[in-house]
Symmetry: C2
Subunit: 258 residues, 2 copies
């Protein structure tokens, strides 16, 4: 289970000023980045010559389906959505990504991205040039392992999403989503039983494969059953235990990330 915290923005800002200067050593995201299990020597290799930090604003596209894969992206700050889209306009959000998540691995298969990536909020992204990363991988098995684990991890996340979309009611899908977000922010056992949703209802209904109206009704219904309180994008007083009972599932303590 990841344990970083998102609730002290001012501290974040101080680190940001350092990390934007392209050092992996001091980067706030390092505990969840590619180099999470690298020692300090390895981390230095990932620094300036391989990485490039840049800011994004709400709505910015990071890459599109079909684009050749230039880089792998690590999110330092902010939120992205990843969409599967067809030329006829149909599209679906398949993933939300945030602090420490690696994005763009879908392009490894054939050298082209298969998804669209957009910024949901202003943020900072660390890009790692893919060509250079490849040569680095060849020289360093630890980095190679990190990459493989990251993709495999993403695959497993997709499987869980698949499961939650198949044969579940709207309320159940929503409950799975809330738990997923809680887990991502490492808040299972913490005193923080609230969430701020980084996405609007439109993106969330797409992710869940339902309509906005159903989503809205599901929110009020679960609120009425005292699973949580909803106020716009704020979810408060989340009753973690009730949610997992509702879904009839058990959560292991050691939800180990990559």
């Amino acid at each position: 289970m990841r344990t970083f915290q998102l609730d002290r923005p001012q501290v974040f800002e101080r680190f940001r000023a350092q990390s934007i200067a392209n050092s992996c050593i001091n980067c706030i995201s390092k505990s969840t980045c590619l180099n999470s299990n690298l020692d300090i020597h390895h981390r230095e290799k990932l620094t300036a010559e391989y990485t490039h930090k840049f800011k994004v604003k709400v709505g910015d596209a990071i890459f599109h389906n079909g684009d050749p894969i230039q880089s792998i992206y690590n999110i330092s700050k902010g939120f992205l959505k990843l969409e599967f889209s067809l030329s006829n306009g149909q599209h679906q959000v398949t993933r939300f990504a945030s602090n420490g998540d690696l994005v763009g691995l879908d392009g490894i298969a054939d050298g082209r991205h298969h998804l669209d990536a957009y910024a949901l909020t202003d943020g900072v992204i660390c890009s790692v040039n893919y060509g250079r990363l490849q040569s680095l991988i060849e020289k360093d098995p630890i980095i190679q392992k990190s990459i493989e684990r990251a993709i495999s991890n993403e695959l497993n996340r997709a499987q869980e999403h698949l499961f939650s979309l198949g044969s579940h009611s709207v309320e159940e899908k929503l409950a799975y989503f809330i738990l997923e977000l809680l887990q991502k922010e490492g808040r299972f056992k913490s005193e923080h039983n609230s969430l701020h949703l980084p996405m609007n209802r439109g993106d969330l209904k797409s992710y869940l494969g339902i309509t906005v109206e159903s989503l809205s009704r599901a929110l009020t219904k679960l609120e009425g059953a005292n699973f949580f309180r909803v106020k716009n994008r704020e979810i408060n007083d989340i009753d973690f235990q009730k949610l997992i009972e509702f879904l009839d599932i058990t959560i292991e303590e050691s939800g180990q990330a990559y």
Copy 2:
């Protein structure tokens, strides 16, 4: 797009007799295996000391959720289903795998499998010891790339599945599935407009996230609209063009596999 054919079983049997003797050089699956883009020298490395061929029977489990990852599996013959399952009995088929598919990559993330794998038919599986594969990867960047591409490919397949489950009617999900199978068997432009479904209705409804009854009705409905003819597990006279018009999609010629 993959171009191997599945419709001459007696020829397959002759090859099988050779490949069971553990040579990647003569293996019938090699064009779609890990070593698809290896030259003959590299292929030799993958032979006997790394791989082990074995037969499976209908219903056999290959691995379970939680098992430590011993091997990566390449399917030489037959069909597998991969299931996401919870301890409360809920489960969903998330993938069907056949000739040339790599299975078990979900376990790379944390060294344990996250899915259950079962044989849908009798078959032959080629296992590659994961520990040895890892050391091989370190020495040989081409094999490492093959692995990464295979996982990334699987990730993209999962995204498409996700898309087809979200916001689509039962008939649409079924149509997507038929096209997916056709594509897998490389029959888009071939004279073969028929399919044999390797799975029963129960597994298929699980994959599509619907009920058996809805599946049955969707089959008869699409049959009534002359998309194809259904006879038990045989799908005949498939009207490829009508299917893609129904889904309002376009298919590129070059559906390149890994």
